[in-house]
């Protein structure tokens, strides 16, 4: 190992540069970056081995208060982590009957093994459950693909049209030798996914129109948009869903019925749109007046200005609050249970009503929570990537 010199002492010898082992450049660099103290000895090499301890000393034990807090946190972790790990994994029972679970000290994951089809697909006919499975797989695959930049091409719209038709055929059936399954028998994951994705997909463009309308110079449009947004934001989603499913049919002429699922979808869409509209409005207000003026001066029409100049900038700014609303809307789908629809969480609740497995409701809810978490966390991570992409060049 070559001996390290501080930078100012190194080239003392005259003559040709020594050809011996030259320390790699990053050593010097890391030496420079090391937070050296004035009295530190020049042989900083020994420090690297102690780095984790050094880091801990600098950051966790640097003051008496921090030392106390660090110890308290460690104590808390010691209290929480081992029992949690034991219950969740180490002492859990992974298969077998409910009797086996009664003897195990940990979680009873067998309940998921036994009940997973009820949780995922609700009351969909048992022998046909490959159909919602396939529909969900197709749907999730398309959602994933739509997030990939290389696929942002016109054919993606065509692929989506095909996917939706395919999902409709799979879920409803009635054609191609598939038995007909009315949508009041759908349940579980397909309901959660479809309600959330469709309501978000329809609410998003609607929210842009509402936000633009709220800033319109035409009083009628502005009043309508403000009234709509404030009404929707002023009532709980539960009451909107009740309105949509119980009261709305009363207004319809006799004989005319609108599907329950569709009514819930409409309620969720309008509710989400109102909240999204306020997020979008925040973006619109962040666009400097000069951008509007430059677009006006170039002769762009209102819609050209809005679509080409204002929205691309405004929407970039509000990616975080918009995704926040998306995540919120995704989780809110579990409220459709109050109008008698079986989303993932409701289906999970139904699964816990089996007397044999009733003691293990906690496991079922942990599992349902995990499902929600997977989708929400994916959205959150995706939005972070999207934000970086959108802001790569346009920092002002």
């Amino acid at each position: 190992m070559s001996k390290q010199f501080p930078a100012d002492q190194a080239p003392v010898s005259a003559g040709p540069i020594p050809t011996g082992p030259v320390p790699p450049a990053h050593w010097a660099a890391s030496y420079e970056e090391e937070p050296t103290q004035a009295s530190a000895p020049p042989q900083a090499n020994g420090m690297t081995a102690l780095k984790p301890f050094g880091w801990a000393k600098d950051n966790l034990f640097n003051t008496p208060l921090n030392t106390v807090l660090t110890l308290a946190c460690l104590g808390l972790l010691w209290l929480v982590v081992p029992p949690a790990a034991n219950w969740l994994l180490l002492k859990a029972s992974w298969s077998g009957s409910s009797e086996a679970c009664r003897e195990a000290a940990g979680a009873c994951w067998s309940v998921i093994v036994v009940k997973h089809r009820l949780i995922f697909f609700g009351t969909y006919p048992y022998d046909e459950q490959w159909r919602p499975f396939l529909a969900c797989a197709l749907f999730v695959a398309m959602l994933g693909a739509s997030g990939v930049r290389a696929f942002w091409r016109p054919w993606l719209a065509g692929a989506w049209a095909l996917t939706l038709v395919g999902m409709g055929v799979l879920m409803w059936g009635g054609v191609a030798g598939l038995s007909y399954v009315p949508n009041d028998r759908w349940g579980g994951l397909p309901i959660t996914l479809m309600l959330s994705v469709f309501s978000i997909a329809i609410a998003f463009p609607l929210s842009i129109l509402l936000a633009l309308g709220r800033q319109s110079s035409l009083p009628a449009i502005r009043t309508f948009c403000v009234g709509f947004i404030e009404t929707m934001r002023g009532v709980p989603l539960v009451s909107v869903l009740f309105m949509a499913s119980v009261m709305f049919p009363l207004f319809l002429p006799e004989g005319v019925t609108v599907d329950k699922l569709l009514r819930a979808l409409a309620g969720m869409t309008l509710f989400t749109a109102a909240y999204l509209a306020e997020a979008v409005r925040g973006g619109l207000q962040a666009i400097p007046k000069g951008q509007y003026e430059a677009a006006d001066a170039l002769g762009l029409s209102y819609w050209q200005k809005t679509v080409l100049i204002v929205l691309p900038q405004a929407l970039r700014i509000v990616i975080p609050p918009i995704v926040n609303q998306f995540i919120s809307a995704f989780k809110d789908t579990s409220l459709v249970t109050i109008v008698g629809l079986y989303d993932l969480l409701t289906a999970a609740t139904v699964a816990t009503t089996d007397p044999e497995w009733r003691p293990y409701f906690a496991e079922v809810y942990v599992f349902a929570g995990l499902m929600f978490w997977i989708f929400c966390f994916s959205m959150s991570r995706y939005s972070q990537w999207l934000e970086r992409l959108a802001n790569r060049y346009t920092r002002r």
Binding site: P288, G299, Q304, L308
Partner: protein, 247 residues
């Protein structure tokens, strides 16, 4: 007033609520004429120039640009905006578009030009403002002087008959003022009709056919640069020139 005026303001008045921003402003500008508008801040010079392409609406009097009167009629306003290019103090480039996209956007959407055709023209204008190598950068990556030259090129891509400049060098660092003024001087040499609000008196002396001095929303006096600088008529003008030429 003159027959061959391309811009004509007749007794134009404008209020912001109770604040009287323009008081009976009348001015007539011929095709190819270069007019520099100066005056203390709050004198209404920016308001006047912004009325010419109706970024601001006047309330009394008449504004006629190339034979079209500016009214609430949106079609007339759109027609005039196609003929009138504008350069702003703060550049107002579109930060989410590249330099080239900034230049081609309006010609493609407003004039309906083919992308390949306008891109060629845009590159020619970028060469003229001496930044063709920045075509694929984003505005945020350019210096202020470069951004303002892009803004000039963007306006020129619409093939305007009139160019309005609203304090084009006021937001620039001193060392970048010259590169922008050079481009403007060159443009003046090509016969463009120009109305320019600026405090650059050297530029005014060199380029302007006439100088308009405004204060408190009125035109105090106007005349050729020689008259204006050597023999100002009003006390208010002398006072202003004294302040601005001191340093």
């Amino acid at each position: 007033m003159t027959e061959n005026a391309i811009i004509e303001l007749r007794k134009v008045g404008k209020w912001y609520n109770s604040y009287h921003a323009l008081r009976d402003v009348s001015i007539s500008i011929k095709k190819g004429e270069k007019v520099v508008v100066c005056g203390p801040s709050g004198s209404g010079k920016s308001t006047m120039i912004r009325c010419i392409n109706r970024l601001e609406a006047h309330q009394t009097g008449h504004i006629i640009v190339d034979g079209i009167e500016l009214t609430d009629d949106v079609k007339a306003v759109e027609k005039i905006r196609r003929k009138v290019g504008m350069v702003f103090q703060n550049f107002n480039l579109f930060p989410h578009l590249t330099v080239l996209q900034n230049l081609t956007l309006a010609p493609i959407w407003v004039r309906g030009m083919a992308k390949s055709e306008i891109e060629e023209i845009a590159m020619m204008y970028l060469k003229r403002v001496r930044i063709p190598d920045q075509a694929h950068k984003f505005p945020g990556q350019l210096s202020g002087g470069q951004q303002q030259r892009v803004a000039i090129a963007r306006a020129l891509c619409m093939r305007p008959e009139i160019m309005l400049f609203d304090e084009p060098t006021s937001a620039l660092d001193p060392e970048m003022v010259k590169e922008v003024l050079d481009v403007m001087t060159e443009l003046a040499g090509e016969g463009m009709t120009m109305v320019c609000v600026t405090h650059e008196m050297g530029f005014a002396r060199q380029v302007a056919d006439s100088i308009v001095f405004m204060a408190e929303g009125s035109i105090i006096e106007s005349g050729s640069p020689a008259e204006f600088f050597e023999n100002p008529k009003s006390e208010r003008t002398r006072q202003f020139l004294g302040q601005i030429l001191e340093h």
